[in-house]
Amino acid sequence: MNNVSAKDSVVIIGAGQAGLQVADSLRSEGFAGPITLLNGEAILPYQRPPLSKDYLGIDSPATALPLRGPDFFTTQDITLHPGAAAAVDTQARRVTLTDGSALDYTHLVFATGAANRQLPCPGADLPAVHALRTLFDAERLQAALATARKVVVIGAGFIGLEFAAAARARGVEVTVLEYAPRPMGRALSATASDWFAARHRSDGIDLRLNEGVTAIHTEGAGLSVESTAGSHYPADLVLYGVGVNARTELAEAAGLATDNGILVDSSLRTAVDGVLAIGDCASFPQAGTGARIRLESVQNATDHGRHAARSIMGQNTDYAQTPWFWSTQGRIRLQIAGISDPSDEPVVLGDPANGKFSIALLRDGVLAAVESINSPADHVAARKLVAASVALPMEVLSAPGFSLKNFAKTVLAVPA
């Protein structure tokens, strides 16, 4: 247990959900020293999830949703610094910024997030080929979408399908190319993934599985996307979402251990004294199994932020929050509690045909994860049940009239 001193200072690299949360939570935990949040840009930190959802609709909001209002930084005495870190000296406990200035720290938090994986094919750098991560990307995409007639989406992950559904809702012709056999195959059970494939197709999206991209060509005023099947798809706009990489370069250069993320222990500390890593960029031991995982989600970012603040305050408890995720694809709302494994046994609750159901995923008789489609009540109950590692016998789960909400009330004695 280390005691935080009144002279301590904190520098946080990255002002996304995770970085902001650790700053906010440090103040609410009573940390009184200087806090500097390195934003890397001169705009107020904003929420990213709406960029691929609300932001692309016809009646999209005109401005980004900030993570906190401008007064927050003054009232909480948090320095929101527009600079970006260039190097970290963990011996001297000093961060050098790209402008050559330096900041000393007692505690340093890496909240550097993730960067989009580049599309590894010729033509990926053509102007009408878009990726989506920043507000700038979203503004460009929004403008391009306003006149687009034919869109090709490369990658049927969350971003690709959220965009595809938003574009389709605007009446645009949409083709989605996915090299894997299933959409969102790494995140969803086969049952849920197959349902999404059918649903997107019935909404008019041309979803092509087992088909990757080999090149993007200029053709007339537009583009032509060449696929591994030898097909050519015309487009006036291409969006790719082919995964992300944790931003670990700065940490690596500072001598921190990385392996698909900056390695941290269960209190979110790296092996180097005074240095923590949180959110998308951190590889941490999963509660229960101890297996290393790295998650890209708002929940992970904010819960890591809260936990890291407590670690800095000297409470070295194990991080054990249940992960949850969401995606909005057109009118389909997907919520996931827990992390599924392909070997889990799926049980469908409700009726997939009416578009409102959940898939419970059992592992050794325990509810390991639940995927809910247009069923928030199931999801909320699932979060509690998955967190409690509740045993759920198949005969209970498959009994007629079984509901996760009622089951949670019974076994967890949750007040109604």
């Binding site: 929420q47 959802k53 609300d54 009232t75 969401w326 247009n374 928030p376």
Partner: protein, 107 residues
Amino acid sequence: MPTITFTQPTGEATEIAVAEGTSLMRAAVTNGVEGIVGECGGQAMCATCHIYVRPEFADQLPPISDDEDEMLDCTTAERTDASRLGCQVKMTDQLSSIVVDVPSDQE
């Protein structure tokens, strides 16, 4: 411009003028109103923008969708008949002013 008044459990009130179409959540987050988090960015996914609408405005509100109804069941502070998610209530020409109470806890 429509106006929103957020009243804290302490009794402190903040009045904010917003453009039409602005949700209560967006107004609160943008203006740093304490006690409204909006963690999911307005998708009715997190229930951290729970507010209580004063009864005199109840009949001017949009109906509660199934999604909002189900998420309201999992707010941290107790759900009452006045409970709404701030992200699902937008200011319009029909709803030009509103007074809401912020719960004591969201997360």
